[in-house]
């Protein structure tokens, strides 16, 4: 049986603008059915990567395959199975919401099988869709952007900052929807600044810094690779240097210290703590936000 091609497969994908390297030698494979989080600060190269994957930009070097098709090739038919929500969404102000999604579905050339469900999930009413887009709030435009990206049941969808402008309730509904999509055969490339949402919905993350991929792995692996934050509260006065060997100690208050301990050292620290007049011990796994801060410090 022939191997299923990766949803996204890039080899040394690079983009240079004049003297600026926007993306350098990106090589990633994203399997079908994955929810892949793409993280990085502003200007890291996230949007450039997405635009290269969609063929909106020509790579300076390297290649990209999307759903097994060469992005730079003359055949555009693979785009029929791809949805895209731009980070800076622009719509035609004189078109109604309905006209907008119908035009884009017709251009996609596939029936808008999921439109009704999306409209319902995102709480867009029929009256909303009849109004011209010029009268929409930013949140409404974002909802329409999500509908146009997903309405034709794509095999791959690239979402650039998808929850921008959505209220918390709609964000929750959107996360639930995203988590269901791999079960329907959709791969999600999820670019975001909002780390808790990436942690909440993504299986694997890639982190970019100044155009280079600096980390790639599952959210769990990434969190495990980082030191644990340990808070110790003592019943009596204790010399904090007694636990110095496990990490840099920070004194938070009288008889209360905090230290960052490598995952492999936690067991030894707990054993050492057992011999101390310990009143409380709190061991916290790092969040993705901690990982992000650690990488971009």
């Amino acid at each position: 049986m022939a191997a299923v091609p990766a949803a996204i497969d890039t080899h040394d994908l690079s983009k240079r603008y004049g003297r600026l390297d926007a993306l350098i030698d990106l090589s990633i494979q994203i399997d079908e059915g994955e929810i892949f989080g793409f993280l990085g600060p502003n200007g890291a190269g996230k949007t450039t990567t997405i635009r290269l994957l969609l063929g909106l930009l020509t790579p300076s070097r390297g290649r990209a395959l999307v759903l097994g098709h060469e992005v730079a090739g003359p055949d555009a038919s693979w785009r029929r199975e791809v949805g895209y929500l731009p980070g800076e969404l622009a719509l035609w102000p004189t078109f109604s919401g309905q006209e907008t999604v119908e035009l884009l579905a017709r251009l996609t050339g596939r029936p808008a099988l999921w439109r009704a469900e999306l409209v319902d999930c995102l709480k867009l009413s029929a009256a909303d869709l009849k109004r011209p887009v010029a009268a929409y709030s930013d949140g409404m435009k974002q909802k329409l952007g999500i509908v146009q990206a997903l309405q034709c049941a794509p095999r791959l969808v690239l979402l650039d900052e998808p929850t921008k402008g959505l209220d918390p309730l709609i964000q929750d509904a959107f996360y639930d929807l995203v988590r269901k999509l791999p079960g329907r055969g959709t791969t999600i490339f999820f670019s975001s600044h909002v780390l808790p949402e990436v942690e909440r919905v993504c299986d694997r993350v890639g982190m970019l810094r100044r155009g280079r991929l600096v980390n790639l792995g599952s959210v769990r692996e990434l969190r495990q690779s980082l030191p644990r934050r340990v808070t110790m509260v003592f019943a009596d006065d204790v010399d904090p240097s007694i636990v110095n060997a496990f990490g840099d100690v920070r004194i938070l208050g009288p008889r209360r210290v905090e230290l960052h301990v490598a995952a492999g050292q936690v067991r030894a620290l707990v054993a050492r703590a057992a011999s101390l007049p310990l009143e409380d011990l709190l061991i916290e796994a790092p969040s993705l936000e901690d990982a992000f801060r650690e990488l971009y410090r």
Partner: protein
Amino acid sequence: MTALGVLLRYGWRRHRIPLLPMIGVILAFEFVMTRMAPAPEDVNWMTALLSAVPSNLLQIAGGDIAFSTRGVLAIGYGHPFPLILLSLWAVRVASGTIAGEIGRGTMDLLAVRPVSRWHLLAGGYLVLVAGVVALVAAAWTGTALGLATRPIGESARPFAAVALMLALLFAAWGAIGTMVSVLRRDAGSAIAWTSGLIATSFVLDYLARMWTPMAPLRPFSLFAYYRPQALVISGISPPDAIALAAVVVVSLVVAAAVLRRRDL
């Protein structure tokens, strides 16, 4: 419906609102020209003026024919008013086709669909040409209606050749505007460049007719290939039509080649 068909409908939806009043205005203008044109019996006294008019000014007016019923009606097709209306249409649609979509950000939604870049270009250009044809047809209809309601011994038929060449002239300007649009990243700069080219070309043609030292430069103006008075006398000149058609082809080929490679 094919992708091109969808793009044509999209273009029509975007541009129909300004097009409809423009059609009405150009039709009314040519209709009014038929009311103002002198009847054949009134023309004789005008010929007496010809001897007093300097030859270069006579050339600008279109030569001897300008002082005839047909000549005055032909002036209606070379008058700045319809030329400005057609320029507005050509510049608006051409600039909006690529540069306008990129500048607004909507190109991201169109170009990620299974539509080739050539289709995006062709869709915009065909809408532009359809609008030019509609405007020129309205102008000719204005002339035909006027001549039908005011019998002055002239037929609307010779003006069909003028209308055809007028359409070809603005199809050429539209192709140049589309090429400019492909080279720019926002509608504003595309509008400025295309409008500047049209205005420069118009002034060049005018000066080349007025001032003998500039006459050799006249072939560099597209307006040199559109001469309404000559068209009503002798019909379409094949070299002029070929020159304008060549501008259309070359501009679109360059636009397609650039668009194929450029970042959106």
